[in-house]
């Protein structure tokens, strides 16, 4: 029994007590916030848990178990080829950094023992943003374009930031630590790499299909004889909220309007390939799932399967409370946030909005994955797509506690330049994204 953990438990109990004691339940705003917290939690439970979070946890477990980390680290070692080092550092986050707590030691390792400052900075920028769960959950919850923008932005600009860091500090001496590099011993892969790749590929396809969403493109016919193309955003018992895809009277393309179901004569789904896949998604997912089961049964040892399940369980214990706790808290707080303030600060795609989002993302600490419900709530309050991406890029890469550790590893000067680069780059990417994809939701 250590005093530190016991004190933490005490602090948690006191916090719960204070909330329970003082919460003004009579206040309608608070009642609404409590309702919203449970509503958001239910929405995640119904729409994102079985099709997205659960398969992604299994994939994360499989990546850790079946992919040899030693082979990736070889490209980031002291004698690595520089071109390979930058590209591997920028994408290896999805293999190596499934848990954000391993990012900092690896960053320090790449910097002091391995390929040096540039690749280490690239790894630190992209690593936390591109793990399997973060990619799929942002694409699903925040929209496909933001999910894709996040991955592409993180990887591309990781290389840019790495190269800039290396160029700015090319003259400073290498402060490498003289220590014999301890690499994990190269394990003999028990099967050919193509088998492992096929196995992981089928799992990812399973996730892609099971998570396939209905784009909601419809042709709406109203009772007064009008007919127009629109995207369904939200449907309740009596009303449908749609975003227009063509001008309609005084409303412009991209405007969101509420239609009462009494006005609507009929809604027809527009036939697209996305929709065609949507209708057969469970068959496709089922096929991939069966392939995974058969491969696991034929190719893998019992022990390996057990290790895979164990690793999956470790991630589940680590991430699920964070995610769902985060969703609950965000749902509660989002009602109490003043909508006008949000729209005022980050409601458009101006330089200021993007800069504000980047700076907040740089210093604020987001527990793994909670950046997704947080940005989702902010978007609902009117945050523009550009600043959303800026926040998502700067957010996981840096935080105040993170910065303190990085300072110890590479000193004040380099840390300061890195922070500035992260803020500037995230702002630029956010603005570019907001300009071109700002309207698509």
């Amino acid at each position: 029994m250590s005093w530190k953990t016991e004190l933490k438990i005490l602090a948690a109990l006191v916090a719960i007590f204070l909330v329970a004691y003082a919460l003004p339940l009579g206040n309608p705003k608070i009642q609404q916030a409590i309702y919203e917290a449970f509503r958001l939690l239910q929405w995640y439970a119904r729409n994102h848990t079985l099709a997205c979070v659960v398969p992604a946890l299994f994939i994360a477990g499989a990546i850790i178990t079946f992919l040899s980390k030693a082979s990736v680290m070889r490209y980031l070692g002291p004698k690595s080829n520089p071109v390979a080092a930058y590209s591997v550092a920028a994408v290896s986050g999805c293999v190596l950094a499934v848990c954000s707590c391993s990012v900092l030691p690896m960053f320090a390792g790449i910097y002091q023992l391995g390929a040096g400052l540039g690749p280490a900075s690239a790894f630190l920028y992209s690593g936390p943003a591109i793990n399997v769960l973060a990619i799929f959950l942002s694409a699903r919850v925040l929209g496909l374009s933001i999910g894709a923008g996040r991955v592409i932005g993180a990887v591309t600009f990781a290389v840019v930031i790495g190269l800039l860091m290396a160029a700015i500090f090319r003259k400073t001496e290498k402060t490498k630590i003289e220590a014999a590099l301890q690499m994990p011993e190269p394990e003999k892969p028990p099967r050919h790499i193509s088998k492992t790749a096929l196995y992981l590929g089928c799992m990812v396809l399973f996730l892609v299909f099971s998570d396939w969403f209905n784009p909601g493109n419809v042709i709406v016919k109203t009772n007064d004889g009008r007919q127009f193309n629109a995207v369904v955003i939200h449907e309740t018992k009596d009303n449908v909220r749609v975003q227009l895809e063509e001008d309609l009277g005084s409303e412009k393309t991209g405007d969101k309007i509420m239609l009462s179901k009494d006005e609507i004569a009929g809604m027809q789904e527009r036939k697209t390939w996305v929709l065609a896949v949507y209708h057969i998604r469970w068959y496709l997912a089922g096929l991939c799932g069966m392939a995974v089961v058969i491969m696991a049964w034929r190719w893998f040892e019992r022990d390996e399967i057990r290790e895979w399940m164990l690793n999956t369980w470790q991630f589940t214990k680590l991430l699920v409370p964070l995610l769902f706790g985060g969703v609950f808290v965000v749902g509660f707080v989002s009602v109490l946030l003043p909508e006008k303030q949000v729209a005022n600060w980050v409601g458009d795609n101006s330089l200021r909005s993007n800069l504000v989002a980047s700076i907040i993302g740089t210093f604020w600490y987001f527990a793994t994955l909670t950046e997704i419900p947080i940005t989702q709530a902010l978007m609902k309050l009117g945050m523009h797509n550009g600043p959303v991406l800026a926040l998502l890029l700067a957010g996981p890469a840096l935080s105040l506690p993170n910065i303190l550790v990085i300072r110890k590893v590479m000193g004040n000067q380099k840390t300061l330049v890195f922070i500035i680069l992260v803020v500037v780059m995230s702002t630029i990417v956010g603005m570019l994204f907001g300009t071109f994809w700002g309207q698509i939701t």
Partner: protein, 77 residues
């Protein structure tokens, strides 16, 4: 007296490794002291890029993974 050092910033896997090592050392009945090295620059001095890692008497025995209890026993023996 063996000196066992667990290298890692305090993530769940490091804690798991610390527990397994302690159990293994007790099972073997050896005299030992256990130390958790959480400071990143200290970890780097061992030449370790991936955590968690286990060092016995200053010698790094396992890097970047949590070995099975049997493997740990071999490392301690």
């Amino acid at each position: 007296m063996k000196k066992l050092q667990i290298l890692g910033p305090g993530c769940p896997k490091c804690k798991m490794l610390a527990e397994l090592t302690e159990t293994a050392a007790n099972d073997l009945g050896i005299e030992y002291e256990i130390e958790k090295v959480t400071d990143i620059s200290e970890i780097m001095k061992f030449g370790v890029m991936m955590t968690p890692a286990l060092a016995v008497d200053g010698q790094v025995k396992a890097v970047g993974k949590v070995p099975s209890p049997e493997e740990i026993k071999k490392m301690l023996a």
